[in-house]
């Protein structure tokens, strides 16, 4: 394989692998920027994947066809947002430790989804969906030399949506009144309170947005990659998204960059095994390379990552 061939394999797959991570990390960003740790991203993705598949299957059964997956993704957004209320109610209203309630959410999601699959289908995993999100070559752009094959060929539309959303979230978080208020609540909730901002309401919104985005992330994963849902469909992607969020220093574009970095590292490690030059390297080195690279990158240039100041603490009016 020549270098162009390798890049043409690695870069598109990095981009498409990153999409669910980007979406989920953006979700985590809303929650954490509002001051609520969200270790439940994994569970929210599970819920999204479950919803994405079940709704697609149901709609296909009703003869909806190609639109099924898209409707399913929208439903996953809603269900994700609703399901995240579990975390929101516990950690915001009931003042539960945010990490505990996130962990509980992870348990609940896997248990509930598989339980429901058994209830709906009488088996532990769903059938395969017929309509998926498919890859396409972006018209015109894919014909540009070099850039075309790398960035605009065999791409999933969901990847572009994810990247676009990252940019939109960036603007929302840093340039709109909503973003300003969201961040103020995560930095200094009491200050926000004295400015007439309803701290708990903002946090509810933050957590529900995290549910919406992570739900979408899970659904995108399921309808693009796995095609069905089982207990093992989402295995650690939520934690990787959390890592991307921190890696990206709680910044939407940073999180996107981190997710793309993870995607690239994984794609390289898998493609690497097909590169003759590396054929004699024991495969374990390539397998662990993405994770080692991430650690090196963190230690080398990224360094200190400081989250929102008030993160992890429930807001109790009048306490100091």
């Amino acid at each position: 394989m020549d270098i162009m061939q390798i890049l043409a394999l690695v870069i598109p797959s990095a981009i498409y692998l990153a999409a669910p991570l980007i979406l989920t990390a953006l979700g985590g960003l809303f929650s954490e920027r509002s001051g609520v740790v969200n270790i439940g991203l994994e569970g929210l993705m599970v819920m999204g994947a479950f919803t994405g598949i079940v709704i697609t299957l149901t709609l296909e059964g009703m003869g909806v066809g190609g639109a099924s997956t898209w409707i399913a993704m929208l439903v996953a957004i809603v269900i994700g947002a609703l399901f995240s209320l579990f975390h929101a109610v516990a950690s915001i209203s009931f003042r539960a430790d945010q990490i505990v309630s996130g962990v509980a959410l992870n348990f609940l999601a896997v248990g509930l989804c598989v339980f429901l699959v058994r209830l709906f289908y009488n088996k532990g995993q769903t059938d395969y969906i017929q309509n998926r999100v498919y890859r396409f070559d972006v018209p015109v752009l894919s014909d540009i030399p070099i850039i075309g094959p790398l960035f605009f060929s065999s791409a999933y539309i969901t990847s572009y949506i994810a990247i676009l959303l990252a940019v939109i979230v960036y603007f929302i978080v840093f340039y709109t009144p909503f973003g300003l208020r969201l961040r103020s609540v995560g930095e200094h909730p009491m200050a926000a309170d004295t400015m007439g901002i309803n701290v708990n309401k903002m946090r509810y919104i933050g957590v529900m947005l995290s549910g919406a985005f992570a739900g979408l992330g899970g659904a995108v994963f399921a309808v693009t990659f796995s095609g069905n849902f089982s207990a093992t469909t989402i295995l650690g992607q939520g934690f990787m998204a959390l890592a991307a969020l921190i890696f990206g220093k709680w910044h939407p574009l940073g999180a996107m960059g981190a997710a793309l970095f993870f995607g690239l590292a994984q794609a390289l490690s898998i493609t690497g095994q097909q590169i003759p030059l590396l054929a004699n390297v024991p495969s374990v080195y390539l397998l662990i390379a993405p994770y080692v690279l991430t650690i090196l990158a963190l230690a080398g240039f990224v360094g200190r990552a400081e989250g929102p100041k008030a993160i992890g603490k429930p807001y109790v009016k009048g306490s100091r």
Binding site: L9, I270, T271, Q274
Partner: protein, 348 residues
Amino acid sequence: ASEEPETTTDEATPSEEPAGESEDFKVSMVTDVGGIDDKSFNQSAWEGLSAFGQEKGLEEGTDYRYLQSATMDDFESNLRTLVREESDLVWGIGFLMEDAVRTIAEQNEDGQLAIVDTVVLDAEGNPYENIANVTFKEHEGSFLVGVIAGLQTEGNKVGFIGGVESELIKKFENGFKAGVKAVNPDAEILTQYAESFNDATRGQQIANNMYGQGADIIYHAAGGAGNGLFTEAINRARNGEAVWAIGVDRDQHEEGLYGEESVTLTSMVKRVDTAVYLVSERTMNGDFPGGEILEYGLEEDAVGIAPTTDNVTEEALAAVEDYKAQIQAGEISVPQTDDEYEEYLSSL
């Protein structure tokens, strides 16, 4: 409720066994973490057990049943529960259960156990008298799909994706490679392991790489990670590329569907159900094959190609029949390990 099926049972029992015994006959299985609907060997085993139960008029849940394991930790507990319920035959599905089955067999000398996909030996290397060992000649079935792949590849390049490397998966790999080379000695075969039986994205990326390098047919033995192969193949087929996927364990035609067509060229089916049925029946008839190492292969129709053959050429189908006969006749010895494969290659 237990009296109800009595009459049917009597009628259905072909043997001369006293009615009392068959009425009491209880058979059960413990699944791997995949559960009875893993679209793989657990599911197949349960299908075999269900078919057996239904045909013999047994009652589901009491006379024939399964327990699912949530983690590896549960194998032993589950097996034990069933043995203690005095099940006449308890199945452990999958080679991961080897040690659990051994432990239970040692603790319950009266229990009758059977295991799929491996052979349980004691410290001296002898099989246990109370364990029936059921294995398959996956390499033979894989050989046949290899023949199809070798004949139908257009670019003379095919691929194999394994799940996690193991002795068992190696049988699939080497059988497949041997089949390809048998009909197409010039063909190049790419192989890669996903290091996971679950991660569809890894399967997809490997498939992407292989197709990207010009392979047009890929066979997988990677469980859920194999889902990614179908995802990738469908994506490419929709873009007009002539690529194929070969399924494993059962007919994976469904996984390959896009619109009216399927990217599934064929599948290597492994009839765990058949084996489970046959051994259960022997046990019910008082002929428990304890201490035996049963190897189910082409002979018993326990491995082979899937019934859906829409995408397979006439020529390839004919070749399959031809090679099947040769293997059964012992004219070809299909390699299982890497060493045997090397030997096989040099003999070509």
